[in-house]
């Protein structure tokens, strides 16, 4: 499936001889202009908006200015939501890896001898993409609701106190994020394990390495590109997500993430400078984290 392409293309061998031709410009220009106009210019618009100040005459309007203080204000006001977003995203990435890696190993290596089972398992991993993720999240909300089966079961076992709830808690939000991103984690790891030549693993055993040290010194390094794509595909959208943490879904005001604050400031409060400043803070933080993370391989490899 195409979602795996993120990892698949890393090892593509390209023809060495690339020609120089004016056709290249013709092919590139429309798409790159489009991205310039609807990706780069919007980032620029965010910078301008983030520095605006309230119009002194018309209430609710903003005028262009250089108010750097906007950044200080939003960080002072919203640092808990910012820190929370990265904390939740990191936890969700970790849990998704703990579930996704063994699953990818199972499908890519254990099931190799049963192609039909392998195809079926792969379809099950892709299946969540075909049903609205909002409805899947609502399904968890209703399963976790106070009258729902899970809370009742846990209360009957006295694991959960009688008055406790799951929805609205940090647990529910991290749970929802983890669930939503398991396929994004599993598929790239699967594509790198699927191509893994098992003779390397056998060679490890032949050279008297224990299964454990073969795993850590042969299998895991060969799966590294997939793990890297998977963690990026999970962490980045999870840090900016605001559906799981929203009150109507799995969260509450206590679990609000930076995405919730950006949405509220932009669409509800119409405080555009605050929303723009927070967006740029989020983007900058992610770019710093991601570039530190991918430093070893570079973007050409990732694409």
């Amino acid at each position: 499936m195409a979602f795996g392409a993120f990892a698949t293309s890393t090892a593509v061998a390209e023809p060495a001889a690339r020609r120089k031709s004016p056709i290249a410009l013709l092919l590139l220009l429309p798409g790159l202009l489009y991205l310039g106009l609807f990706f780069l210019v919007p980032l620029f618009s965010l910078v301008i908006t983030s520095l605006q100040q309230p119009d002194p005459v018309v209430f609710g309007q903003f005028e262009n200015a250089f108010r750097w203080e906007n950044y200080v204000t939003v960080l002072q006001q919203y640092w808990p939501q910012t820190v929370r977003a990265f904390g939740y995203a990191a936890l969700a990435t970790l849990f998704a890896l703990l579930i996704g890696f063994p699953l990818a190993y199972f499908i890519g290596i254990t099931l190799r001898r049963w192609p039909l089972l392998q195809a079926l398992a792969l379809v099950l991993v892709i299946a969540p993409f075909f049903i609205s993720f909002l409805l899947r999240t609502i399904a968890w909300k209703q399963l976790f609701s106070d009258e729902g089966p899970i809370v009742g079961f846990l209360q009957a076992l006295a694991i959960l106190p009688g008055d406790a709830a799951i929805t609205g808690s940090a647990f529910a939000v991290v749970f929802g994020l983890t669930y939503n991103f398991i396929p994004f984690m599993t598929l790239p790891i699967y594509t790198s394990l699927e191509r893994l030549d098992l003779r390397y693993v056998e060679a490890g055993g032949d050279l008297y390495a224990s299964p454990r040290s073969t795993f850590f010194r042969v299998t895991l390094p060969l799966a590294a590109p997939g793990i890297m794509s998977g963690t990026l595909l999970t962490f980045i959208p999870a840090a900016g997500d605001y559906v799981n943490a929203s009150r109507e879904f799995l969260g509450s005001t206590d679990t609000a993430m930076i995405g919730n604050v950006i949405e509220a400031n932009f669409l509800v409060l119409q405080n555009f400078p605050a929303a723009a400043a927070l967006s740029l803070v989020l983007m900058a933080a992610i770019l710093i984290l991601v570039s530190a993370y991918v430093k070893r391989s570079g973007t050409e490899d990732l694409l």
């Binding site: 392409a5 079926l120 379809v123 993720f133 399904a139 968890w140 299964p211 050409e300």
Partner: protein, 265 residues
């Protein structure tokens, strides 16, 4: 110990797959709920929701909008992205690393930033938001995914086939449409399907740029506050069953083909 480990991964993976299926099954089951107002408690089996899908106000309109947006954005993104993918593999040009960076960045940017950025731009330019701005936004974030998908296919294409065409006096146009394009078609199809799926299920970017127009995901988000009608479950389940049927057919025919090839060896 090794035997136990082999057994454990089967159990663990089966549990993970069941876990992935739980909310999907829940959504499908509750599409048959005799729910009346709120589709939260099970009140009994009915086919009414499936037979009168459009009876919930606005749900079919939202679904139609999503299809329209998905189709237009897919056509635009697939065309632009395929052209870039061909150029990346086949040609030498300056600013190559800047180009790959520009293609990588939209995938590395959280959707909320893409959405807020476009909304800020439309606000400053005085552009009214609606289906048009949603299409512009979706096309933007689909292009990079198309490039990634098609590029792998272009790279695996044997240049000798095109050379053969040229040797037989085909014009460059004929070579492209009668050799290159048909060979790229599986990659282009995969990219188009991916684009459509991304567009159809997008909520975050859409929410910032939709104005008063409603897509299927934004309908669900708004309805979540007062209770989602079972008809929304019907539409989602219908789309799901259709898509899964198509995927199953293609996966199993591919697996069967692999098996035949393995036997022939």
């Amino acid at each position: 110990m090794r035997g136990f480990g082999k057994y454990a991964i089967w159990v663990y993976s089966a549990m993970a797959l069941v876990f992935l299926m739980v909310p999907i099954i829940y959504t499908i089951v509750f599409s048959f709920n005799d729910s009346r107002r709120t589709n939260i408690v099970w009140r009994g089996f009915t086919l009414d929701n499936w037979l009168n899908v459009c009876s919930a106000q606005g749900v079919c309109q939202a679904f139609g909008n999503s299809i329209l947006i998905g189709v237009v954005a897919t056509v635009l993104a697939t065309t632009l992205g395929t052209m870039i993918a061909i150029a990346l593999v086949r040609y030498r040009f300056r600013f190559r690393s800047a180009t790959t960076l520009l293609l990588f960045l939209p995938m590395a940017t959280p959707e909320v930033v893409l959405g807020a950025g476009l909304a800020a731009q439309f606000l400053q330019a005085g552009v009214g938001k609606g289906i048009g701005t949603i299409i512009l936004a979706h096309t933007m974030f689909c292009i990079s995914f198309v490039v990634v998908t098609v590029r792998a296919r272009v790279a695996s294409l044997d240049p000798a086939l095109e050379e053969a065409g040229r040797d037989l006096y085909a014009s460059p146009r004929e070579v492209f449409w009668r050799i290159t394009f048909p060979l790229l078609l599986p990659g282009i199809t995969a990219a188009a399907l991916l684009s459509f799926a991304l567009s159809f299920d997008d909520f975050i970017i859409t929410n910032f740029n939709r104005g008063a127009d409603v897509t299927f995901p934004s309908y669900i988000y708004t309805a979540a506050a007062r209770g989602i009608p079972a008809e929304a479950n019907v539409i989602a389940s219908g789309v799901f069953l259709l898509a899964i049927a198509l995927v199953l057919i293609s996966q199993f025919s591919a697996a069967a083909r692999r098996r035949r090839l393995a036997k022939a060896d």
